[in-house]
Symmetry: D2
């Protein structure tokens, strides 16, 4: 068995999604985490590397340094996982793609359209590959739904109802996770970017249909909030199906409720 070598940008002490990526990477026993630029704070980066068993010489102070150093090592990483806040996706993604290292990037793609375009340009120019982790597409239930639709079990699709409701931002909350997600400069968007992107990706992935047009209303219900915390969207899909998408971080009573319903002329899921 050949094990793959993984690096990580972000995911140091106090982070949230980095740990989730590490657990996922461990499940099949095929990856070893061997390098990292785990925090923009050098002390935290070093301490985090020790905790995770990363050798000191492969704990880097910046992603730029890491990309260059790992590309130069004969035993350099096979891929890097980028698990930073949204506005720090494009920088490392471009750096590693330029260094020829495969990139696994957390969603959403970026905080701005410009950043997204920069990633696309770098990905197209690189021999390495770029992967965006819309993780819910990996759920067996979603794969099953997609396969049933692809083989025509639902017939011609008519209606898609997607929703992703949370309530952890129903009040004016301050903590490491809330702070960057509600700062437009770091997140780029609120509920629509953090969880709406999952619902939007998933409805397209499962139905096999692209959205051709949409009409959205984004609201910020919490006083002083600078990003949307609730999004209502109507969708016109290719082929004539119609859809609705609701993403909310203020739906009190919903810890983390993702729901997808698709109806065709022969069946519903």
């Amino acid at each position: 068995m050949t094990r793959l070598k993984l690096g990580m940008v972000g995911g140091g002490q106090g982070a949230f999604i980095g740990g989730v990526h590490r657990i996922a990477a461990r499940l099949d026993g095929k990856w070893d985490l061997v390098a990292g630029a785990l925090s923009s704070d050098p002390d935290r980066a070093a301490a985090s590397a020790v905790e995770l068993g990363i050798a000191p010489e492969r704990s880097y102070a910046s992603y730029e340094e890491m990309a260059q150093a790992e590309a130069a090592r004969p035993d350099g990483i096979d891929a890097v996982a980028i698990v930073t806040p949204n506005h720090v996706h494009a920088g490392p993604a471009v750096a590693f793609l330029k260094a020829g290292i495969n990139v696994i990037c957390d969603k959403p793609l970026a905080a701005t359209a410009e950043q997204a375009e920069a990633i696309r340009t770098a990905a197209e120019a690189s021999k390495a590959r770029f992967f965006l982790t819309h993780n819910y597409t990996g759920y067996p239930l979603m794969r099953q739904a997609r396969a049933m639709i692809a083989r025509g079990a639902l017939g011609r699709l008519r209606v898609i109802q997607a929703e992703y409701a949370q309530d952890w931002l129903a009040e004016d909350t301050s903590n490491k996770q809330a702070d960057w997600r509600t700062d437009p400069a770091q997140s780029g968007a609120g509920a629509i970017g953090d969880i709406g992107t999952h619902a939007f990706n998933l409805l397209s992935f499962v139905s096999g249909l692209e959205a051709e047009a949409l009409m959205a209303e984004l609201n910020s219900f919490v006083d002083g909030r600078r990003v949307d915390d609730n999004a209502h969207i109507m969708l016109r899909m290719a082929g004539g199906a119609r859809g609705m998408l609701w993403a909310s971080q203020v739906a009190v009573g919903n810890e983390n409720a993702l729901r997808l319903r698709i109806y065709g002329d022969k069946g519903g899921l």
Copy 2:
């Protein structure tokens, strides 16, 4: 105990909602059905009256005749239930209101705005009262939700998600119930009028909020259908809350699924 005397327009053999009204009227033992214009077909009207124990002299050939005759009797009906297709709501409603007889009318109010205005005019001019049976408002769960919201248990309302999904018109179906409901001249509208009206009424009844603006997309998915069979609506409610409403008669797998969710800054239902 004084029992009230009920008349009925529509609801003869082969009808659907008339029987539901009769069951509801029987539950508390306070009503007797004593008169009717049960069908536009005279033979069916007479046969239906016999089945329901209505005396022959109070089985009428038309609602006009019934309104006049019952108004003239010393033991005339206390109220009439109108359970006809939508385009035959305004005619009998106006006739009985003019005759001074209370009216219980099935929803939706009418098939056109003109008919609705005629009912309003007649109701304002009459000593009798006009009741529209949005029956779901009578459910204890809805009353409880409304009371909780009214006393502030949810705080300031933010988001309302209402839906009413059915699937019985997912194909091009022909039967007595389907035929008039999919004929624009008789129904005035499709899913939005038949069931969307329940969802729209209910969200306002429970939340205590009126819609100030809306944006709707109505679709007819079944080939040849002349009324909408799916409706997606975005709502702006008084006070700033936002909502979505989905009504569908083509959502395969949903026999009759009415669902209302309301979220405020202190709680959700």
Copy 3:
């Protein structure tokens, strides 16, 4: 339409199940309640009759008097509903059966085996018929389950899990309903008689199988309670199937939870 004439023993002011029987009798519009011995308290009996629209001369002071008088009238009742506490089932049942009047009796059959035998003897000797209202057998879901099993959809039955859990007697409660149900002289039994009888009847009705042997443990968990408030029973059914029955009035969180699961070699319900 010929309407049937119903009498009632019990069910006066303050009673519980009598009102439920009246609602059920009204649903199809084929019964009129015309006579009653509604309470053992004469004043309450008379006042209750007035409320229910029963003519004063057909409001009786005792069931004995009612049985004789109604049997003698040319327009006497077609059937009597007995809705008294368990220990007052046998008396009126025998009296009306002897008078040739059909009996609809609430469950359980009686408070003692002797009373039950007396009813059987009277029913066998009478031209009238005796009905015991295990009402859950009337639910469409149960009829459907029974039909599926009868036509072999589950194959040969193996396992039956029945339960009926409530919590309204989890504490030492005193009210009209609780008092007689927890008095052995009036109820004859506790949870097993009040609700276990439903579960036992239903499992047999739906499965089509009789119990051949059983092993039961009855407990009284509330201090001072003189009847069982929890029953655990293991069942050996005819044909080899095995079952469990749980009936409880102390299962906090269960308002009224009846559940039946049946498994055969080809399917489960």
Copy 4:
């Protein structure tokens, strides 16, 4: 970070629960699988070791050899996971305990009471520790339930309803997993040992109560089956609570349904 060294007995190609243990061991990144006697078939053992990245010199032909060799190595394993069929629990457990190596053993403890006693004797004599993996006790929901009961949230416990229903043995199935589980010599018991042991352990773990007496009926419903495939058990718990346990592998429609309900005088879970 110090990583622990894990060995495994059983769990080679074609096995089921060994892979589950490996996934569980990987989740927190604190274990490395470095040694194994993965199969009683030497070729399969060797091939399995290659797949799992175990060095050839630490892939052993027998658990006896493995226990001795690992105990002698300065870098020997910290613990061994025994994931063999039930009748091969006691042999390796005793061997590793005697060698001073900690043992993580899959449930049930053993196939016979004699084997269980042998493990107890060895565990008591060893400096190493013995762990039995009743994995459901690790679920956060169960820990929460246990903590609530321990702090008195349910009051004095009265009733416990435990069940574990599956259907994969509803027919006479033959495959690697079914064959040993339905062979009395290898499994020691059927549904009661394979899954009833989880329900029994869990109800005691969560309630904090030991069973003082029980009455069980075990049945084999599938023709030719030599172990029980359905178990009904009534329980008398210390302190007076009563319980029922149902374990079944023939409950068609239940893929893997574990359910625990506990009721006290103040609450229910």
